[in-house]
């Protein structure tokens, strides 16, 4: 069962299967052909093809060195040792000097080729990596959430690495191998076509055998990868869930789960290794067979006068040159498949059309200042899911303080997402100062509209750097002022390292409430015209929350603020309350009017006040 299925049916709606990046693994749609991936990939990364011809020529020259030795052996034997007038040292010396020169030339071209290859491929891959990274950020949150974090990360790391590995090792070897087989075959043919045929007959089955086995090996390694994924998950439990393991005393169970997955991974690896170990030495086997047959047939041909001793011996040297390419050829083809698959996955990311696109240069830049928001008959449902919001039609006046309330699943968070253009409506329009949101440039939109999400995610850096994330040019004075403005100077003062306090990964060195405080300051210092707080103070103590609320109230006089909250205290002091129920905007107006109207708000508020009243002791 895919994650998407769970999400779709869960009350808090998430992305449906329609928004996944790339092909659904379960779908029957055939994957793009390797050639087409290659063509598109090369088009997107022009660095790869720059000067490719020269690199290839150098590779061919580099390969030529491989046949120097067998050729020299043959020459030495036939024209040196077995010269008619007894061993001829001059011939051998001259031949050796020429051969040595050839070896040097091939070494130099191999050097030049390698340097070029690394330079162009690494530069090209870096460009590709960065482009994919940027593109992932440009995708909508729905798109982003449809993939596991690790999978997104691997598109810009592991997947790109498979391409680089292939270009620098496999791809290179492929060229060299093909060149080598061609050259060796030509030389063999010059010596004896019969023996050439014999060698080919010996090696051809090896290729097909390897191909057949490679499928099994690939399957074995895919088991290894699956086992590895499970193992990594199990290993993470005592680390990520350390407190829970401790609190419930489930060390033994956890250890057992780890052992099982670690051993399964080990066994999968060993099994794959068995295949490789049994397959790989087939090369040695075939060389032995071929050499044995070459000797037998060669002697027979020699007696017949069709072959010299040198040529026969040279053949024995040349046969060795066949093993590598034939054996590696299959492995390389396999690697090529992996590289193409990796490339395809990266291209898929780049292909994924951002459903929430930046109009860019063509878009409008809105003037700063008090902002007016309008929802015109807006309806929305997550892809593949039921409708979440129905026909919301509302105008938020500039400089107002709006509270959005409703039960879990009533659609208030979706309202915030539409307001900040994290999603676009299915029907209707959302307007900012009369301009439809999709027409506003992102740079302008994000400067004017900032949302503070509930989680309070922080980057693994200091407090200062995290706050400056909201406004990169803010100096310490500005940051401190922001804390003072929000009534958080005391909290900041209580930290031993002050702004230098490291917040840890995801900000986890701070408590949930403290993270929210920092996230709030970060948004506040960005100085937007419309601030949307989605349960942004849910983990903060009431006194601090009220203080922040007041501070924002005082400071939001010039701006519009939208609070999405469980706690009704926010609603009480808001200029206007929007009440959502089952995806519909059912009531709106100031608290004073709604609270006595006997509707949904009255009920919500009553249950909240009941909680706030000090009840007599329960026992």
């Amino acid at each position: 069962m895919s994650i998407a299925t769970v999400v779709r049916k869960a009350p808090e709606p998430g992305p449906g299967p329609g928004s996944r990046i790339g092909a659904d693994p379960d779908s029957d749609r055939p994957a793009e052909s390797g050639l087409s991936v290659l063509r598109r990939g090369l088009r997107m990364t022009p660095e790869f093809t720059e000067g490719l011809i020269v690199t290839l020529l150098l590779a061919v020259v580099g390969t030529a060195g491989r046949i120097v030795v067998p050729l020299a052996v043959q020459q030495t034997i036939d024209r040196g040792l077995r010269a008619d007038a007894g061993p001829d040292l001059t011939v051998v010396r001259t031949m050796a000097a020429v051969a040595a020169l050839a070896v040097v030339v091939t070494a130099v071209s191999a050097y030049a080729m390698n340097v070029r290859l690394y330079r162009t491929s690494e530069r090209g891959l870096s460009t590709l990596r960065v482009a994919a990274f940027r593109h992932i950020h440009d995708l909508s949150t729905l798109h982003q959430q449809s993939e596991k974090r690790g999978s997104l990360v691997s598109r810009v790391t592991g997947d790109v690495d498979t391409i680089s590995r292939f270009i620098q090792f496999g791809g290179l070897l492929l060229i060299v191998s093909v060149g080598q087989i061609a050259l060796v075959t030509v030389l063999m043919f010059v010596y004896s076509w019969q023996l050439t045929l014999l060698v080919w007959v010996c090696f051809a089955p090896l290729y097909f055998f390897m191909r057949a086995v490679q499928k099994r090996i690939a399957a074995a390694y895919s088991h290894v990868r699956v086992a590895m994924g499970r193992m990594l998950g199990a290993i993470a439990e005592p680390v990520v869930g350390a407190a829970i393991v401790r609190a419930h005393g489930i060390e033994e169970r956890t250890a057992h789960r780890i052992d099982e997955s670690v051993n399964a991974h080990r066994d999968a690896q060993s099994r794959a290794q068995l295949f490789v170990a049994l397959t790989f030495p087939m090369g040695e086997f075939v060389v032995g067979l071929a050499n044995g047959l070459v000797v037998v047939v060669g002697v027979w041909l020699g007696i017949d006068g069709q072959l010299s001793v040198g040529e026969l011996v040279a053949f024995l040297f040349l046969v060795t040159l066949f093993v590598g390419p034939v054996q590696m050829g299959v492995e390389i083809l396999n690697e090529a498949q992996n590289a193409l698959a990796g490339w395809r996955r990266v291209l898929e990311v780049l292909d994924a059309e951002p459903d929430i696109a930046d109009p860019g240069e063509a878009g409008e830049v809105l003037a700063r200042g008090p902002v007016e928001v309008a929802f015109e008959h807006v309806s929305y449902g997550y892809p593949g899911g039921p409708r979440i919001l129905h026909d919301v039609d509302v105008r938020l006046a500039p400089r107002t303080r709006v509270a959005v309330v409703g039960e879990t699943g009533s659609g208030k968070t979706t309202f915030a997402k539409l307001l900040t253009r994290l999603v676009d409506p299915d029907e209707g329009r959302v307007l900012l100062d009369g301009v439809e949101l999709p027409r506003v440039r992102f740079s302008s939109l994000r400067a004017r509209v900032v949302m503070v999400p509930q989680e309070g995610f922080l980057f693994d850096a200091t407090l200062r750097e995290n706050v400056r994330y909201g406004r990169p040019d803010a100096d310490d004075a500005a940051i401190r002022t922001a804390f003072v403005d929000l009534g958080l100077a005391d909290w900041l003062g209580g930290l031993a390292a002050g702004l230098d306090t490291p917040v840890g990964q995801r900000g986890e060195s701070l408590s949930a409430g403290e993270r929210q405080l920092v996230a709030l300051v970060r948004a506040y210092i960005a100085d937007p015209d419309l601030l949307v707080l989605d349960e942004a103070t849910s983990a903060v103590d009431p006194a601090t929350e009220v203080r922040i609320g007041r501070a924002l109230d005082g400071l939001t006089r010039g701006r519009t603020a939208v609070f999405i909250a469980h706690r009704m205290s926010t609603a009480e002091s808001a200029d206007e309350v929007l009440v959502f129920d089952a995806g519909k905007l059912v009531e709106r107006g100031p608290h004073a009017r709604l609270v006595g109207a006997g509707g949904i708000y009255t009920r919500l508020h009553a249950s909240w006040t009941a909680q706030q009243k000090t009840a007599p002791h329960p026992r």
Binding site: V73, A100, V153, V156, A247, L274, F442, D541
Partner: protein
């Protein structure tokens, strides 16, 4: 990054020590692998010998005399093919056992490292970033045992070189001399290669990890990046790391470009030298042509395997670093020692809890809790109330012994927590943390955590936790919740975590703001339902009055100290901080109309 010769020697010594550890762990498999590899080594030399003999005794006579015998041909074929067969078997054994040894070692050390994670106290966990611990168990273990794969091959090559040296000396001293120059040169060149390449490759590896880390963090915070419009800055940050990685890889490539062709050229030069020297020897009548062929062939055969020694040395620096890190975990001090007290006697009724002069601080030096003392009588409910960052979560983690106090102690049923056996506290007490952590598992397994509980009990716990949404999930209790429970909302995760605690029928229930992400209405139902959950002593961290109202008593914490304790009404009367905290909403509502904050603050001041 430069590696001095001294450091090199140290790395070599340490690297060999790591290999020694590995061999002692798996002596039998190692012996098998090395044995097979020796067969491979001897047979490699043997195939050259056979070729020399075949040249001299079959090929040359046949060409000279114009005829040969079927026996000679069959013999030649059998010798050439037979040797190849034996060599192939050697390779099979070497590869198989080398792999098995490597994988067994990896598995053994992964198990040991994770055992340590489970054994070491949480305070130790707090000192080490999650990412580091994960890579200790994974990448570092792998790096530590990487040289095990080429080890048997390298050992076999040593045997091969030894046998080859003898055979060359026995064949001809002049050609042997060429070999003694060329093979050490190849081995040495490859050692230099690996040394140059090692640090560069390691740096590239580190940068690769950096790139992955930035991507991971950036995608983790994608919502923040998006809502603040920081895509371009993030891309710049990533592009810088990616560019560095590209440069590092190019540096690796440049070294490879330099050494690979040299390593290929060297044996070719050797063969050419053998041909020239050999021709001289043959013309002087000191050498048979077949011997010349044999030595030349040996050169081509040995050129590649000799490099295995370089591979082994090349893997060593990473292996040493990886093994050191792994050892760091395995030798980590910090016992979370356990006593012998059983705990978990359900018939004993609600637990009694006492904190005595507890002091606690994290490693950065400042104390988080100072002299905290309070007691809770069995069956009572106390609320721990205090502002954000006052140390409440730390306090509750001490109550169930996630961490130990620096001074003082926590007593459960009159016994210090440190005297309970492993699992003894968990059998008595259950904590529901602020951030609900779910395993990538089914809902049922997340609740039972391996306890043998029937579905009725699970459903009952879910009912009290107001987690009825589970029945609406596509596969009910069998629904998998995904990585860290990401398919569920925060409130849903919290309710499952609560059910997980309730299903254990704890005698002490500790709730750390465990319903913060739940609707007020649902929260009220949960709190109400807790009374049906069975008799328990309850400690609850709370802000909301409804939660506080459930408590018999309140412990008010501020700045890591217990400032006051007593029934809610009394605290309301005498504690200014407490009053301001819990009345914040009401006061805000009262003042909402006039918004005259200054006046209200003044009133507050007068009231105190």
């Amino acid at each position: 990054m430069k590696v001095s010769p001294v450091a090199d020697k140290v790395v070599l010594r340490q690297g060999l020590r790591v290999l020694g550890v590995g061999i002692r762990e798996e002596p039998r498999i190692f012996a098998a692998a090395v044995g097979a590899s020796a067969v491979y080594g001897v047979m490699t030399v043997g195939s050259a010998l056979v070729l020399g003999r075949v040249t001299d005794e079959v090929i040359i006579p046949a060409f000279r005399d114009g005829h040969t015998t079927a026996g000679a041909l069959v013999g030649a074929f059998a010798a050439v093919f037979g040797i190849a067969l034996l060599k192939a078997f050697g390779v099979i054994g070497r590869r198989l056992w080398a792999g098995v040894m490597q994988y067994r070692l990896q598995a053994t050390y992964r198990r040991r490292v994770t055992r340590q994670y489970l054994r070491l106290p949480l305070a130790w966990h707090h000192r080490h970033p999650t990412g580091t611990l994960l890579s200790n168990a994974n990448a570092d273990v792998e790096a530590a045992w990487n040289p095990i794969a080429p080890l048997p091959m390298a050992t076999g090559v040593v045997v091969m070189l030894f046998v080859a040296a003898i055979s060359m000396v026995l064949t001809d001293w002049a050609l042997a001399l060429v070999g003694f120059v060329i093979f050490p040169a190849i081995a040495l060149l490859n050692v230099v290669y690996q040394r140059k390449q090692g640090p560069l490759a390691m740096r590239a590896q580190e940068l690769r990890a950096d790139v992955a880390e930035i991507a991971h963090e950036s995608f983790d915070g994608a919502l923040v990046v998006k809502t603040l419009g920081r895509e371009t800055e993030e891309t710049t940050r990533f592009a810088a790391a990616s560019g560095e990685l590209a440069d590092a890889n190019i540096a690796v490539g440049r070294v490879r470009a330099l050494f690979d062709p040299m390593l290929e050229a060297l044996p070719s030069f050797g063969v050419l030298l053998v041909l020239v020297v050999g021709t001289v020897r043959v013309s002087n009548g000191d050498l048979a042509p077949g011997d010349l062929v044999q030595v030349a062939y040996l050169f081509t055969l040995l050129a590649f395997p000799v490099r295995a020694i370089g591979w082994l040395l090349g893997d060593m620096p990473r292996s040493v670093v990886g093994f050191d890190r792994v050892k760091g975990v395995l030798e980590a001090e910090g016992e979370h020692a356990y006593g012998t007290i059983e705990g978990g006697d359900a018939s004993a009724g609600p637990a009694r809890l006492e904190a005595r002069a507890v002091r606690f601080g994290y490693t950065d030096g400042t104390d988080v809790l100072h002299d905290v003392a309070f007691d809770v009588e069995p069956g009572r409910t106390i609320a721990v109330v205090g502002p954000t960052g006052s140390g409440k979560s730390t306090l509750v983690s001490l109550l169930v012994r996630l961490v130990d106090p620096l001074d003082g102690g926590v007593l459960l049923d009159g016994t210090d927590l440190r005297e309970y056996r492993r699992g003894g506290i968990a059998a008595t007490a259950a904590l529901v943390p602020q951030q609900a952590f779910l395993f990538d598992d089914t809902v049922r397994d997340n609740i039972t955590l391996g306890l043998d509980l029937d579905d009725a009990a699970v459903h009952e716990a879910l009912r009290i936790a107001q987690a009825d949404f589970v029945t609406a999930l596509p596969e009910g209790l069998d629904t998998r919740v995904g990585e860290r429970g990401t398919t569920l909302s925060g409130g849903q995760r919290q309710r499952i975590a609560l059910a997980r605690a309730l299903v254990r029928r704890p005698r002490l229930l500790v709730l750390d703001d465990a319903t913060s992400a739940v609707d007020p209405r649902v929260e009220a139902a949960i709190l109400h339902g807790l009374r049906d959950a069975g008799p328990a002593t309850v400690v609850v961290v709370a802000y909301r009055k409804a939660t506080i109202a459930l408590a018999d008593e309140v412990v008010y914490v501020e700045g890591g100290r217990v400032l006051d304790r007593g029934p809610h009404h009394e605290l309301l009367d005498r504690s200014v901080g407490y009053r301001r905290l819990v009345n914040a909403y009401e006061r805000a509502a009262r003042e909402g109309a006039d918004e005259d904050i200054d006046v209200s603050e003044a009133e507050e001041a007068t009231a105190s």
